[in-house]
């Protein structure tokens, strides 16, 4: 009933040239303004990449930190704890026991396992100092890089933090075997922390 009475209230059809012009000007100006608004200039490629990286790193939900003990690992853990605390992210410390091809993957390596537990216990202490919860993980693998990438794939991870523990052996390696593999195969961003040694100046 309402609709029936409503139809009767419309004004008579009345089309004028000026009305058409105003209608077109109105529609085109609104469309033009919105189109202009939706197409801002792109940030310079490198800046955009950096901004994206910063954005992703500061939005990580799970952070995986590779640890092997020692001073560098402490620094990695401090960094990881700081980021995890700021973002309320889940933090996992992983220690990879690398097994040579001469041993099966389930071989008992008590000495190495004790070392792993000790390093992870130290990691837990650092996390406690930051008041951050940490999950400990020991993985056995042929190569540490593969184990870290697998761990990041198994539990969705937004950020891996690693140390550069060795110098590259081959020309096609940039960082060292583990870091090189992780950087190339990780499903997420990777932060690499360099060791604190100071390179000797060239003799030349």
């Amino acid at each position: 009933m309402f609709l029936a009475t409503a139809a009767a209230t419309t004004v008579p059809l009345h089309t004028t040239t000026l009305g058409v012009v105003l209608g077109v000007v109105f529609a085109s100006s609104v469309v033009t303004i919105l189109w202009w608004m939706m197409h801002p200039p792109k940030a310079r490629a490198i800046v955009e990449k950096v901004m994206e990286g910063v954005e992703r790193v500061t939005e990580a939900g799970r952070i995986l930190v590779g640890t092997r003990g020692g001073q560098l690992s402490q620094r990695l853990l401090n960094l990881a704890c700081g980021l995890a605390k700021a973002q309320n992210a889940a933090l996992t410390a992983i220690y990879v026991v690398e097994l040579p091809m001469t041993l099966p993957l389930d071989a008992a390596v008590p000495e190495e396992m004790r070392r792993a537990e000790q390093v992870l216990a130290e990691a837990e202490e650092v996390a406690q100092q930051h008041n951050v919860e940490i999950k400990k993980q020991i993985a056995k693998a042929r190569k540490a890089g593969r184990a870290i990438v697998d761990a990041a794939n198994t539990a969705p991870t937004q950020l891996i933090i690693l140390g550069l523990g060795e110098r590259p052996n081959f020309e096609d390696r940039i960082f060292g075997s583990t870091a090189d593999f992780v950087v190339r195969h990780a499903p997420c961003d990777v932060i690499l922390e360099r060791p604190s040694f100071v390179a000797k100046p060239s003799s030349r």
């Binding site: 309402f2 609709l3 409503a6 139809a7 209230t9 419309t10 004004v11 008579p12 059809l13 009345h14 089309t15 004028t16 000026l18 009305g19 058409v20 105003l22 209608g23 109105f26 529609a27 100006s29 609104v30 303004i33 919105l34 202009w36 608004m37 939706m38 801002p40 200039p41 940030a43 800046v47 950096v50 901004m51 910063v54 954005e55 992703r56 500061t58 939005e59 990580a60 939900g61 700021a86 973002q87 309320n88 992210a89 937004q158």
Partner: protein
């Protein structure tokens, strides 16, 4: 319906205090909840905000606020300015453009929540910062009462017998009580919903205007009304001053700036687009309205003018009328909710800057929302509805006060724009108000924004009009300011803080943090370089002065 980030912003009130990170979304998995909050306290190290508002999100954030204004203003302005309504909208629209450009520059330069209150505090110090914030508080409470009442008006499009007092007031108060419940519970809509809703509304408004111009608009009727129904000068000026309420809400884009991705690029665009689209809609509706209906028909339907207009459009009127009424009731109610959000944010921000007692900072134990602020100012909004409903025209009464609060705030923002060009020339300005006059003061080149002076003149003109022509604005507006000053004087005296002076704040570190959080790395670099150059210049000048001093002493 609220701005998506607002409820979370309130939670950030806690987060800044380092008590609770639970309200934050750290995983980046849910893009529906933005992170808001004021986060601009100079002492704060990290606001913990995640920038998640994109271009359309930033635009619709503002549109949900400003876009709703025309639904309320059309009837009021036509009732006052009659056949001269399009001219009233055009004059005020020009002044609004100047204000809009100033807001655009400031929001892009200082991408933090807080809007006009923050700019004034930063530019003109604590006392005027308080004045600006307090004037905006008035606006936000009026926003709630006026738009809740207007929402009731559009609902009553379907119940014409209720389109008068006391029913309108009862419905409006019920709406405000609902908003109190909604906001204390911290319920929020998703940003996606807001974006879709605004898109639907814009499409609807555009179709009404387009169909209206194509099939119903009669230029002869417009011309006839302009000539024969042009009001007296005083009446016209009154209409022009009321028309400013069609453009209130620019605060929203600046408040969203803190959560916008690439704010330096995005905010100027969305802000400019908002200024011009809102202006186009307001002008179109007034020109269209008086080319389709006699002015007194629109004036007689102040509760639902746009729906009545839509209802008369051929082909689509039968559906556009009711659809517009539903859409307008919702959008206008959403705008009322932005008022609740607005005063929640602004009081919280003012408390943090020690402009208001910290009593307002408290958050609800269970819901983590600033319940005290919500209750105090919502009750005030209810009182405003009741008092307004006792007057001859409740909409007009509230619009009077709305105009007073807005124009008072705008005047201070425009002065701050000029002042900040001098006092903070180092902050990079991704967007500058055009037409600047370069002047050199003490060896430093500063660009003086000429348009700001035009805007200032226009705003002062409107402010004088409001005080001159609005009986209620003349009494209630200044009374509100006096009440605020009493609160301010008592609080600052008891806290041992300067009343007319300002507390020392580290704005430079604050700016560095804001730009870093915004991911505006190039701007950050520019800013740091500018500061470094300034320090070097100052050091060189000090050395030269010492050298001169030594020479003078040696000579003697």
């Amino acid at each position: 319906m609220s701005h998506p980030a607002d409820a979370v912003s309130q939670r950030n009130g806690q987060n800044h205090g380092g008590q609770d990170h639970g309200g934050q979304n750290h995983s980046g998995k849910d893009h529906d909840g933005h992170h808001g909050g004021d986060g601009h306290g100079a002492a704060e190290s990290n606001s913990g905000l995640r920038r998640a508002v994109g271009i359309w999100g930033s635009y619709t954030w503002g549109y949900a606020d400003v876009g709703a204004d025309v639904y309320v203003a059309l009837g009021l302005v036509v009732a006052a300015a009659q056949g001269g309504a399009p001219l009233a909208f055009a004059i005020t629209g020009l002044i609004y453009m100047f204000i809009g450009l100033a807001y655009t520059e400031l929001a892009a330069t200082y991408p933090v929540a807080g809007g006009g209150q923050y700019y004034t505090l930063r530019g003109l110090g604590d006392f005027l910062g308080f004045t600006s914030g307090w004037a905006l508080l008035l606006d936000f409470t009026i926003d709630v009462s006026l738009f809740a009442l207007s929402s009731a008006g559009y609902i009553n499009f379907f119940f014409p017998k209720l389109q008068h007092q006391p029913w309108l007031a009862i419905e409006g108060i019920a709406g405000i009580i609902f908003l109190i419940f909604l906001n204390i519970r911290g319920i929020r809509e998703s940003s996606r919903m807001n974006e879709i809703f605004c898109a639907v509304d814009m499409l609807n408004e555009s179709l009404i205007i387009l169909f209206g111009f194509l099939f119903a608009w009669d230029p002869g009727l417009l011309q006839h009304q302009f000539i024969t129904a042009f009001p007296s000068t005083r009446q016209f000026l009154y209409g022009a001053s009321i028309a400013i309420i069609s453009f209130v809400g620019l605060e929203s884009v600046s408040q969203a700036a803190q959560e916008t991705i690439r704010p330096a690029t995005v905010v100027p665009r969305t802000s400019l687009a908002l200024i011009f689209t809102v202006l186009i809609y307001a002008l179109s509706f007034s020109v269209l309205g008086l080319g389709i209906l006699p002015w007194n028909v629109i004036a007689a339907n102040q509760g639902d003018p746009v729906a009545v207009l839509a209802h008369h459009i051929p082909f689509i009127g039968f559906i556009a009328g009711p659809f517009t009424a539903i859409l307008a009731a919702t959008l206008v109610f959403a705008s009322a909710n932005t008022g609740v959000m607005g005063y929640s944010r602004i009081t919280w921000s003012m408390s943090r800057f020690k402009l208001l007692p910290s009593w307002f900072e408290a958050v609800h134990e269970k819901y983590s929302t600033p319940h005290r602020t919500i209750i105090v100012f919502s009750v005030l909004a209810i009182v405003e509805v009741i008092l307004a409903s006792l007057s001859a025209n409740a909409y007009d009464t509230l619009a009077n006060l709305y105009a007073f609060g807005a124009v008072s705030g705008y005047v201070l923002v425009l002065i701050s724009l000029v002042k900040l060009r001098f006092s903070d020339p180092y902050s990079p300005r991704p967007y500058k108000v055009p037409f600047n006059l370069p002047v050199t003061i003490k060896g430093r080149r500063v660009e003086v924004p000429l348009l700001a002076f035009f805007g200032l003149a226009g705003n002062i003109f409107i402010w004088v009009l409001v005080v001159w022509t609005h009986a209620i604005g003349r009494i209630a507006g200044p009374s509100w300011l006096v009440l605020g000053y009493i609160v301010y004087f008592v609080y600052r005296s008891r806290a041992g803080l300067p009343i007319f002076g300002s507390i020392k704040r580290d704005w430079e570190n604050d700016q560095i943090r804001v730009l870093a959080e915004a991911g505006e790395l190039e701007l950050l670099e520019q800013y740091q370089t500018a500061l470094k150059r300034r320090d070097e210049d100052q050091a060189a000048a000090a050395v030269a002065a010492a050298h001169r001093q030594a020479l003078t002493t040696g000579g003697k």
